[in-house]
Symmetry: D3
Subunit: 238 residues, 6 copies
């Protein structure tokens, strides 16, 4: 029934290749099916000014998409002179999600910038960016720990994200682009390694959904997130 | 326990004054406690170009905040030369939410622009904007029906929005600013008149939440939305 | 003869409601007929950098208009990414006018920002903004005096503004929008409580005017300003 | 008493050299003392879109200043990414003033763009731009008439502009930069060849002025404008 | 003597992997040592408007760099709101170079957009972008030919680019980043498959060079370009 | 054969008038035939921040063009809100070229800004800007030396620039606009007083060129540059 022939609760193949960018403190290329996102983490010695003298650190994210990551060419935001509302919404989500898994006091007054750039898009780019962004963050923090710059690990738990939606009347896991553009309701769920929730965003365009459908999608997402956490673990050699 | 002394499930007083802007096709001033939002609806004869020859209409929204709506002055976006990521995220949410309650085919190839400008802010401005924006939309559509420009009512149902959150460990309804800035988890729920869900956005900053907490907040929201729908009905004389 | 049926020297009804914004140090909603402007004053502890170590303060203004304050919707400047030339011209005029009534040395090295946002427009918005802006300024300065932050009153005199023009060949006071858009010559006059002039801006589009006409308009303006000063006095309880 | 040793009613030397830009339809270099402005007129076949099918033409102006026209270097607006409020205010004034001397119906549905670029500044640049801009406009219109493109002359009269102010307590004509920056009140007067008024802009910064002072300045301006009109006439060989 | 231990005339290893982006009409990932550039070609049905009704096509290019392609993080141009001068200079060079190898009449009134995004930078990114951009262009044109959309091949010849410079007093081929930042003179040479020149850009910062040195660098470049053309041939299976 | 009737190796008349801007530390108006560029040098007490505590100075350039310097009016970059890619490329070239003739250590931690504004364009504006910019720089540095602010002369040599190209199959010197727009290959050469090269930029649009043609153009350029250096010497009274 799904365009890809997948089962309703079947995710696309996941691969996470680490340390793919020689200059970054942490990096990975995450592939969820045909969605490919390059994630890097940059450690900056200073926290943003609003944190001055608080002893707290910050994790922030930026998101971009190559013009031809998409089926028809998307105009380059640097040429348009601004990031779209969608881009800003996504990068705020990535930053907020990753911060939920970090003890900012243990991180100390420094900032880690996560860059997520979509090389190829087939639905679910923001979820891939969060899941891959966490791996880049983990690797960068490992460097801080190895160097003795910080002594206790500020990473509290895994953070991973997965989409679900109601496609052709059925709840399905991990929407690809054809499903995403046809789904009446879709949602993104950000979940920790212990299975707690960090973000739930469900949205109906031109329809609405019930409390029961919401719970069905949540159930799919919890199962999917578990598999993503395993992929993260295996990528970082955990 | 709440700074305002309200019960956990007690909303702030709601008032909706209609037809407050003499030039707009529909308008209202909605007050949820000290949060005051001026909403107007403008009917445009043309739909956006991506809908040309589809027979479908569009509803979109823009959101703004007067510089001194807030406790300390916020810089004016027109001076900064761009809308913030937060502003864009909110106006996308308002537009998406209202479209979910509209039969775009019955509306025909025209656009209704909902402007939501916050005159005074005390938490929950996006929810007030959706709830008041719906009233402005309803009034503007009434004009189209009265004039015979369209013949069948494109409004499918009410759309109203309410925030909830976990404040000091307790689920509370309709966060004001002091609660909003201290809550570990907060959520915005957009609900129809029949009680179906249109948007669920739950977010943890520096914490996480369980499936059970999610359901508790949802329950509060469903009750709150019901009261907002009553306020809408009474405002439009329904 | 006038579209509104007013006498040549008859102003529209004036009302000034004070303290309408709970967060601002001073605020009012001024209504001149159907022109409604919300004015707030914000006290900032620092003067602009060009005044550093001079002992002098500054008063500045920003002006905006809600998109549907006008008969047909005006595009939002925050979306366009810049303030129009007209907006900048008006806010420069408001700031210059209000500064003319202030002893910047008595104010000390701080800045007061006057925000004037037009909720509804029917001609004369810049004049309403100056007249209402002065009230907001007065109220904010009262707070500084009451708190003992400053000891001598920096407000030298009232500042009020009124428009006049030659409509259908006749000099008329306080142009509304239909008059303003048809007038061959129109002018804005900023006047102090003692009747001295602060700004005179007369402009002919597609016509020209004589010295005598200029004096007639000035005479109308002087009378109108007197009535605005009375409204200011009554608003601040003077 | 004046820094330059001039009499109170003495203007600086005026020179207008025509046809200085080989590509423009009309051009001149106007020098008012050390204020030098290069003015050009460009004829465009189309009027702005808001005039479509009205039979009316348009005259508009743009104003710029070379970075080192001023005593200390001014940052280039093209680098800053926008025109300042002052620049926009000036170019709106130039356009409005020149349009007041034009029969837009005789001009027909075309646009003439007047570019005024300050090569060297010593006060009074906007007045020099209007006076020189009129010459460039006159020369361009002459070309249209000579080519038979239009048959009746759309230029109704000369338009010239001059500044006056109250310097050290005395009304003086044609302020240079040292006077301009010290004057308590200054004004710009745009006058036609027949002595009628087109724009009067008087402004007090940190002071105020009386009706009598206003009239004294107006008298000075009328005399000054007469001499500028003579310089225009002699420049165009009239 | 070179930081990398290479011979003076030794290039870094070159690899070109084709068809790496599933949505693009042509694409490759080119690696010149540690410089990695992802190149895609997008076919657009319309030529730019300045070519309307000329029968001629166009090839243009855009260039970008991921923030962490560089040793320290570079700020994202989409966030800064504009492309840097360097970026614009490079993308103009890429477009001009590729057009030199295309018969725009045989291409017909369509446009091919080449996107070159640097995933990792180690000197020579603009040369890699030209060399890889040509491969993407070749592959996209092949599709047009295969589909019969165009009948005669518009590609006239290979276009490849290589840098040379004077490092530590010696002419060297294919500068990496440490060499590039220390070289007194460096140059970029764009060469066709037949060995003719398309662009020569030599530049001395803080030094100067002689006619003889220029010729030495040219000789190195000609040899290097030959090897790049071979790599192009092998990539496209030629 | 040339549109102007010049010999293949004949330059247009050159004139350099110095000290034409009363406020600038150095200035000249350079005319190369009908190309007229006004150049000024501004001395700033501070070097850019990246040079802090290095003891080194900086020379930078900005380039602009009056809208009607060109045959048809060019839109003003300040109105468009950004400098074009061409403008940025040119001003980077001017700055780089002039720095190549300066001992930045002898200049000390200060910056000299060269503004080059094209009053009239007929091809070769960037070359005229470099040649005239050097004169403005020389005059400004003379002031620093005369004032004893610096003790040893930081100017190492003349820097001058000239264009050449292949027009109608023939190598020609100093292209004017009709030649420039028709030339298959054109180049800009920046040369020192001793005849050494600083920049070579050769470019083919829709063609390519041989090593021999390159050398022919270089030969022409070297002869042309010699004459420009003589004009510089005579302008500065050397």
């Amino acid at each position: 029934m799904r365009p890809s022939g997948r089962q309703l609760d079947q995710m696309r193949p996941v691969s996470i290749e680490t340390n793919v960018m020689r200059h970054a403190e942490g990096s990975c290329l995450i592939k969820i099916g045909n969605t490919h996102v390059l994630c890097s983490a940059t450690i900056e010695d200073k926290a943003p000014s609003f944190l001055k003298n608080t002893g707290l650190g910050w994790v922030t994210a930026e998101y971009g998409m190559l013009p031809r990551a998409t089926n028809s060419r998307t105009r380059r935001e640097a040429v348009l002179g601004k990031q779209s509302g969608r881009t800003q919404e996504i990068q705020r989500l990535i930053g907020r999600s990753l911060r939920a898994g970090v003890d900012r006091s243990a991180l100390g007054e420094r900032q880690i910038v996560i860059d997520c750039d979509v090389l190829q898009a087939d639905g679910g780019t923001r979820c891939a960016a969060i899941t891959g962004g966490w791996v880049a963050l983990r690797l960068a923090v490992n460097k801080l720990l190895a160097a003795g710059t910080i002594v206790s690990d500020p990473i509290l738990d895994h953070v991973a994200a997965i989409s679900c939606g109601i496609y052709a009347g059925q709840p399905v896991l991990d929407l690809d682009y054809p499903e995403d553009s046809a789904a009446g309701t879709d949602g993104n769920f950000v979940v920790t390694g212990r299975g707690r929730l960090v973000e739930v965003q469900m949205s109906a365009e031109g329809a609405s959904f019930s409390r029961e459908e919401m719970l069905e999608l949540l159930g799919l997402a919890e199962a999917g997130a578990k598999r993503l956490v395993e992929a993260q673990l295996s990528a970082i050699g955990g």
